[in-house]
Symmetry: D2
Subunit: 338 residues, 4 copies
Amino acid sequence: MIVVMKHTATPVEVDEVVAQVNADGYTPHISQGETHMIIGLVGESPTPLREDNYSSMNGVEKVVRVSSPYKLTGRDMHPDNTYVPLNGSSVGKAKVVVIAGPCSVESREQIIEIACAVKEMGATALRGGAFKPRTSPYSFQGFGEKGLQWLAEAREMTGLPIVTEVMDPALVPMVASYADVLQIGARNMQNFVLLNEVGKSKQTVLLKRGMANTMEDLLMSAEYVMAQGNGKVMLCERGIRTFEKYTRNTFDINAVPVLKHRSHLPVIADPSHAVGYSEYVHSIALASVAAGADGLIVEVHPTPAKAASDGRQSLDYAGFKKMMDAVQRVAEAVGRTA
Amino acid sequence: MIVVMKHTATPVEVDEVVAQVNADGYTPHISQGETHMIIGLVGESPTPLREDNYSSMNGVEKVVRVSSPYKLTGRDMHPDNTYVPLNGSSVGKAKVVVIAGPCSVESREQIIEIACAVKEMGATALRGGAFKPRTSPYSFQGFGEKGLQWLAEAREMTGLPIVTEVMDPALVPMVASYADVLQIGARNMQNFVLLNEVGKSKQTVLLKRGMANTMEDLLMSAEYVMAQGNGKVMLCERGIRTFEKYTRNTFDINAVPVLKHRSHLPVIADPSHAVGYSEYVHSIALASVAAGADGLIVEVHPTPAKAASDGRQSLDYAGFKKMMDAVQRVAEAVGRTA
Amino acid sequence: MIVVMKHTATPVEVDEVVAQVNADGYTPHISQGETHMIIGLVGESPTPLREDNYSSMNGVEKVVRVSSPYKLTGRDMHPDNTYVPLNGSSVGKAKVVVIAGPCSVESREQIIEIACAVKEMGATALRGGAFKPRTSPYSFQGFGEKGLQWLAEAREMTGLPIVTEVMDPALVPMVASYADVLQIGARNMQNFVLLNEVGKSKQTVLLKRGMANTMEDLLMSAEYVMAQGNGKVMLCERGIRTFEKYTRNTFDINAVPVLKHRSHLPVIADPSHAVGYSEYVHSIALASVAAGADGLIVEVHPTPAKAASDGRQSLDYAGFKKMMDAVQRVAEAVGRTA
Amino acid sequence: MIVVMKHTATPVEVDEVVAQVNADGYTPHISQGETHMIIGLVGESPTPLREDNYSSMNGVEKVVRVSSPYKLTGRDMHPDNTYVPLNGSSVGKAKVVVIAGPCSVESREQIIEIACAVKEMGATALRGGAFKPRTSPYSFQGFGEKGLQWLAEAREMTGLPIVTEVMDPALVPMVASYADVLQIGARNMQNFVLLNEVGKSKQTVLLKRGMANTMEDLLMSAEYVMAQGNGKVMLCERGIRTFEKYTRNTFDINAVPVLKHRSHLPVIADPSHAVGYSEYVHSIALASVAAGADGLIVEVHPTPAKAASDGRQSLDYAGFKKMMDAVQRVAEAVGRTA
């Protein structure tokens, strides 16, 4: 950590900062620049450094953090890629996995039919929501545990592992008893109680980036899960909120290579939420693979106009088939498989 | 709801939309504009309208919602202001209430001392966090129930009601047994499980706007609480995330008059999180009152540089006293009291 | 256009709106919904409709525009792709063009050397700034006309057409006398005086999207150029401003398919500004091609650490060569060439 | 400037950075932290430091700037407030000035009538656009020089100085021959050619913050004007672009105290563009004054629904009168006058 003093800082103010550095167990290293004095904190100490406290001291201009705040999710201490097992594949290796299915589980028949269809077309896993976070309390909220049972039946028939969202910390064990992958939705990315619970569950986690969260926030939330001893985390970029109105979200494609660079965890892209309109999902899926995503999670529905939720962004079967074919070609173009 | 057809829409596509409108129990009302056909949905029906489903149909350009989606929080059905009782005041009436205290409860002595100090300087209620949502799992997470007990002691000594955050749906009854006002933090604004629980608790709720949430989202989250039969909701603007780097958040001062206009619920401003630096909190507090806020929630700490969290944005006692005096003058200038 | 009346609108307020519609030469078409009256404006009139004026009337809740405001750049009136000639290619057809070169022209030798290098590696055109928009008045502002002369020499030696920025409306004819393509930078996207001048010049234009501009704004700025009779416009996505701090901008990859869908103009992607760090440019370039971009504009410098500007985002020759090879493979995977 | 080396940086990479520091004429000051080496650049040199070049070097993690990039607009070298003369007032002193008038000059009669009205109600200066930057080429673009002549007539009759926008660098002398204050609009905030011209003109400048520009960008654009020897600059906050849809812009009220803190220049607030709807302008005007703004610029029109532009955000006379009365009370509450 580096403390930059104001150019108007008095010797007394400098002494107070130096005393605080010593009190925290670090060695202050002072450089006098042209206009500003800089105090480096050198050495190791059991006292964690709190930027806020130094930045609140008199005479301090700003505090600059040097090392990254994510220890378990970052590459510094863990340079090699983490591979997360999914249906015989290792997410993060050559094969680009595709998780497909409806936004919501709508009935036993619906989810089984879709599971069979997407398996046939090459999906690696099945998505489907039984607990739905909805902006309005009057919107369909999902079938709950019954939906999970239907998902389990669909798994039994197809062999596709299940990816499904969990919203309530108290229900993590129950959801985990059905699901292969616990999805944390964008709205819950900083629901730290929930992150701790999925961390404790030891189940594979798909962690979606929140709409207003930086990549650093995302890595810190993954850190919550890993700090509970659960290393099977997949990061998911699904678009952030901006001023643009022609799309539902702004997909941060930059996040794909940047997260891969900073973290050893696999990165999944969600082109459906990324753009919000089915006619563009194909292009964004291909872009994600070209940018280096380890997998995709895509909404598929046989009749999008009848979907209980998110119909506007769901691919129909023909669209999904077309996307899968193109994903394969692009994956090969960048030295991967699909 | 209005369905705008594409200028290339075929008669068959129009017929399908019309059939859907009839199936949903509404009367289609067709207008042929210069380039686009417009289909208005007229009448009442038990079937709720889902924009997504119409917008997924062939030939549809876009769907425009006409009525607002918040029924309980909006002014349409509830034109008169709601007043929320707090320590003998009615939040929403003339008196601008001030909720003050530390970011975190750090010790029994600390919270009692601060409670006495802010009461002396005119605060209406005491804030203090016992459960802290922190970006990093390694940061101080609060004292939990012990912190709540200390808050209760502080209340006993000062008479100040307690405003404190609850993060875990399972702990709502426990937190509610100590707290007078349950705070929902920005990161949990769309934690719908938690919203339902605080709705059921019937305790007064302070609902903070999320960093990436529109005012409409905020009103919809308040709708979750009210839909559970709990009408004692205070909306809180605390800043949103933007590209600006000189401040911690961008305070959306526009939200104060806009929320007051659209909703009957009281609006509280949080100048501390709004700007993130103590030297600017005074100005933002006054701006909030001038814009029509019904109250303020402000972080106060006797020695900000020693605070366990958020020291950079905490006022010290002298700063708080100065703010309170100025708040009173500005409140009077806009026809209120403080 | 559709005018939605407030549910509290009085008959007098409705009459005033109806009178205004008639005065503007349109036919009012009234639908009474469950809660709101809706007035559609039907027919044709020489009076252009101004949303603001209707939305300022008493009793009006909101005004909804139906037809898109861009007539010349949109697909409605011009469904077929526009192809812009560039060095024997037609931008918008199968071949993905690559415009490459340094951020700034730094010397005669530098630009000639780079031109030869990028031509050798397959570039279609040469970029290089002679007039540089810089946030600071103390930063290098470019060599001006001398830089243009050096660019012209580089063109003579390599045959590569020149893409270069123009900032001053008064200098458009001079810059156009050297350049093959006039670039309008992000900061000037709504410099309407400049847009009119490049429109009048009839030279090909590369129009970059501004940092805070919607796609609609971009299409409206292109409309300025086309309204002057200049149809040779290429739209360029280069990233928008968001809260994310790990990258210089947030590349709006969604814009590639959405702009292609809404407009007949070719779409170029700028992966260098999109992400701002050379190590990620490769991934973003491939993503752009996969998403359907018609071309790329990329910053290349033999020794980025010595560049006069934008060194941090410039590819060196090895990086550019690697990118070109991969672009070719991805282009083929999506049915194009490079 | 501080260069933070990667924790994997090799001795050779460190040597290269050190050599570059020496080559640039600074003294490298090395601190070895727990994980990262930090190289401070100490001393003075005629060579300006370019962050980009250091950050492009091998082994460099990041580069941290220490001193602020704005020399003339910042308080470091100019701690005392600058007061800009306007109609006998000194903007920046106790009196809160109010610049009022229509968005566009629509006719000789209109501007004279409004000038008389706003003067009567206490305005300090008259605003009115003769050159209008419009998103659409088909919207009303202003009356040009004729509009300026009408403004001059209005000045003659009322004594109110004229604030009007200039868009074309070539027209700065002409516009300056009529106007007392040259306004640079949000879309031109980084039109550096224009900034240089208004700098050379020596006329007072009202510089509006761009929709996607940070406060630092704004100060750097003011630096352009001041670097030409023109110190009569007023900074203007008018709202930035965010995801919020209930208002036209998001007014960054934080900018008022932050700009006052960092710069010695006066700060004007534009509540009309800030929020975009006339019914909220009153609240935002008061908030601005409470936050410490030195003045307001407000759109006023006798019949907003008939305005040629921006009718939706224009106050009518009654609204302006009410605002002026309230501004006076709030100004006094914060120790100022109006």
